[in-house]
Amino acid sequence: MTVTDARAPEEVSLRRILPPVVTGQEVVLLAVLAVLWVLLGIFTPAFLTAGSIGPLLVQVAPIALIGVGMTFVIITAGIDVSVAGMIMVCAVVTARTLVGADVPAVVAVALAVALGAVLGSVNGLLIAYGRVHPIIITFGTANVFTWLGLRVFDSSTVNNIPGTLSFLGRGAAGSTLGVPHSFALTLVAVAVAWWFLRYTRAGRNLYAIGGNQNAARLAGIKVQPRLVSVYLVTGALAGLAACMIIATGTSTLDQSVGAGKELQVIAAVVIGGTSILGGRGSVVGTLLGALLVQTVVSGVTQLGWPTQLGFLFVGVFILVAVGTDLIRERARRRA
């Protein structure tokens, strides 16, 4: 029965005890993305130029960045639909601060992140200790956050925002060697999150919580603090994403900031192969999912088709991505 290992047991290869580095879903996504880019490159020669890819990456950055936090949340079998509200609050407060006081960029970013973390921890505390389904809690807080944001807007737009945050924007100041800083920052976040989920105790425990919360509690995992932390991280990342959104916009911030982002983020996460039922998922998949969504949307525009048609493809991608995952899952269970 036992297949004896040629090597001594002390020489342990991590490859044999950890899950594969790349999941099947990620390979598929990468392939689809490659095919799309090649096709778009052929049909719209402008697509594969730096002038086209750069803005695409800038637009992907906030979605993928919040997607990192949302991946954590969904791995624990939760969900956060208050992201749009958090973006709005962080964006308007930061923008007002920039207009009112000439603070340096670091302070502005720190403010946004801290504010986001506070909002996120409100979600987390209510969910972990109120024991109401996360979708209900975050529907409620979404309304409250939006109210807060609109109060700060005070029924007008925020005008004449200085370019303090332009290092995160889409202009020349926003990139180095053609790589947008915001996207580079997102890559760093994805890398850290990947490492966290794969190698740390706290990260691995998130999967256990999502897989079977009760068993996780019995195994001695501190479920409630962990739950608070994932919503807190999502909020903090929404704060950072809000800075990117300010930087990529004009000098005016209007009240529609953030609208619809929560569903875009969730779409990126589920296309990336994270199971909405919890217990399984990866941040690399989320990054690829966000790239795919933005590629489709941008590609449709560049092909001269109606912009809105892109979202039809996004819908189809969600179904195909989750469908293939379901089929693979059923095949695996049968095996």
């Binding site: 005890i17 105790r201 691995r204 897989g211 068993a215 019995l218 195994a219």
Partner: protein, 519 residues
């Protein structure tokens, strides 16, 4: 009883002091004595079988040993030292590990992670796989699993492999006593061979194993000694070689006489006829006839395949071979709703997950299976009709409730079971399949349910009772088919002794002929 107790001498094992000595253990739950003066002595490095009927006190004794419950009186000594086991963590600290039938594992995590979840060895925040891995891989070797499974998600393993993982996980902490609670119930024969290899290897390494099983035949392949429990007492304890399957079965049931069985009655036309029916992986080549007014009992241990026969008849599963003829038609039963149309009703085995609409009213629970009767127009529900039907059944089945509006969740097990049964009796079915009809039900309600079944049969319903309850099948069946390992092992009349039934189900292959001659 006394002379068998005389034999209960602790058998000295290879070492001088026994690994485990539980003496004079008693435990009450409220007014009920779960165990009385029970003794269990296990020598180091031996496999000690613990057997008894359901309710004999095995699980209470095991709970006391694993720290889940505390004994009222008695002492526990491990390696000669008297210990106090006040909690499960006490037990683990003392080297007592338990592998339960339904282990709490994580399907999405890898096998390796399942070992350490919640007690990871870390270096800073990082799980130190290099520190964890050697021990885990060695344990995979111990339980006979390929090291390659370490990186696979647990959910992708077979049930048997998952069980091997949970045994290995139990060995992660220092284990000197390993309790295996019915480990073979869900395994195939080949998988049991693997399990036995593992158990033997552990014993040879000095681990003492307490092995609980209903499958008596397999005990002879694996156990060194056997302790038999009955009615909360340990009846005997001795090397297993001194006994036969039949002798063990007789001691388990004691001198229990059948509490009476049904008087033979006239039966009508054939309602259900199986001919070589097979469901791959569950049962094969099952043939019988069931007539109107007859109660046929399918008795077998958990996993023997009897339960699945009921599910196929009701259309929950499709047979993979053979023929089934239902009320004169050969057409296979496509679904439960198809079965209902053809006059078949079934009470499922698991009341809470398969039978209860817990926060809905009793009336809802009773009428949900017969929606077509609730109004004069099709698809219409008339509340007076609903109330009338519900009240009628509440009265007929003597369900104790102030009102049909009470939610089902507020009822005791016995009353809830009557409601679930009532759902299938709104119209008298041609064929009623009952799976474990009195599991988790108090004695009084059990009596009443048995009476209801008898009345139904008298009115002409064919009844198929699938049960693991020995006394029950004897009491209500006209004929009993004993299932073993997916096949009909014997057909016995209800007048057969309990020991005989148990021996047939548990695999006494050495003495099959005598009963055949009786018939």
């Amino acid at each position: 009883m006394t002379d068998t107790a005389e034999q209960a001498r602790p058998t000295p094992g290879p070492g001088a002091t026994p690994r485990l000595q539980m003496r004079d253990i008693s435990k009450r739950y409220g007014g009920v004595r779960a165990i009385r003066h029970a003794d269990l002595t296990v020598a180091p490095g031996t496999v000690h079988a613990l057997v008894g009927e359901n309710g004999a006190g095995k699980s209470t004794l095991i709970k006391i040993l694993s720290g889940a419950e505390q004994a009222d009186t008695g002492t526990i000594a491990i390696d000669g030292r008297v210990v106090t086991i006040g909690s499960t963590s006490d037990a683990i600290a003392l080297g007592v590990q338990t592998v339960y039938q339904e282990p709490q594992l994580f399907a999405e995590l890898t096998v390796a992670e399942n070992f350490f979840v919640g007690r990871e060895i870390t270096r800073g925040p990082v799980v130190d796989w290099r520190a964890q891995a050697p021990r885990m891989l060695a344990l995979l070797d111990t339980v006979g699993l390929d090291r390659g499974v370490a990186a696979r998600p647990l959910g992708s393993l077979s049930i048997a492999q998952q069980q091997q993982v949970s045994i290995a996980k139990a060995l992660l902490e220092q284990a000197s006593i390993l309790i295996l609670d019915e480990p073979s119930a869900i395994l195939t024969d080949a998988e049991i061979d693997v399990l036995f290899d593992v158990v033997r290897r552990l014993a040879s390494e000095g681990v003492s194993i307490v092995y609980i099983s209903h499958r008596l035949d397999e005990l002879f392949r694996i156990a060194d000694e056997v302790t038999i429990m009955r009615d909360g007492e340990t009846v005997s304890s001795q090397p297993i070689g001194e006994l036969t399957v039949r002798e063990i079965a007789e001691r388990m049931v004691g001198g229990a006489i059948a509490e009476g069985h049904r008087a033979p009655a006239e039966h009508g036309d054939v309602v259900l006829e199986l001919d070589g029916l097979t469901l791959a992986g569950a049962f094969e080549d099952v043939s019988f006839e069931l007539r109107a007014g007859e109660v046929l009992g399918l008795y077998g241990l958990v996993g023997a395949g009897a339960a699945e026969v009921g599910e196929v008849v009701y259309g929950m599963r499709r047979a993979t071979g053979g023929r089934m003829r239902l009320v004169g038609s050969d057409r296979p039963v496509a679904s439960p709703s198809d079965a209902k149309r053809r006059g078949v009703r079934m009470v499922p085995a698991n009341r809470s997950t398969q039978g209860s609409f817990s926060f809905q009213s009793i009336a809802f629970n009773i009428t949900i299976g017969s929606l077509g009767l609730l109004g004069r127009l099709p698809a219409w529900v008339s509340p007076p009709t609903e109330r009338r039907i519900a009240d009628d059944l509440i009265r007929r089945l003597a369900v104790k409730t102030p009102s049909a509006r009470q939610p089902l969740a507020a009822m005791s097990g016995g009353n809830a079971q009557k409601v679930v049964l009532a759902r299938q009796l709104v119209e008298r079915p041609e064929l009623l399949v009952l799976a474990e009809p009195t599991q988790g039900v108090d004695v009084g309600a059990k009596e009443e349910i048995h009476r209801i079944v008898a009345d139904l049969a008298a009115a002409g319903t064919a009844v198929l009772v699938v049960t693991t309850d020995l006394a029950e099948v004897q009491r209500i069946a006209d004929r009993i088919l004993v299932f073993r390992a997916g096949r009909v092992a014997r057909e016995l009349p209800p007048t057969a002794s309990q020991a005989e039934l148990l021996a047939a189900a548990a695999g006494a292959e050495d003495e099959p002929v005598r009963q055949e001659e009786d018939r």
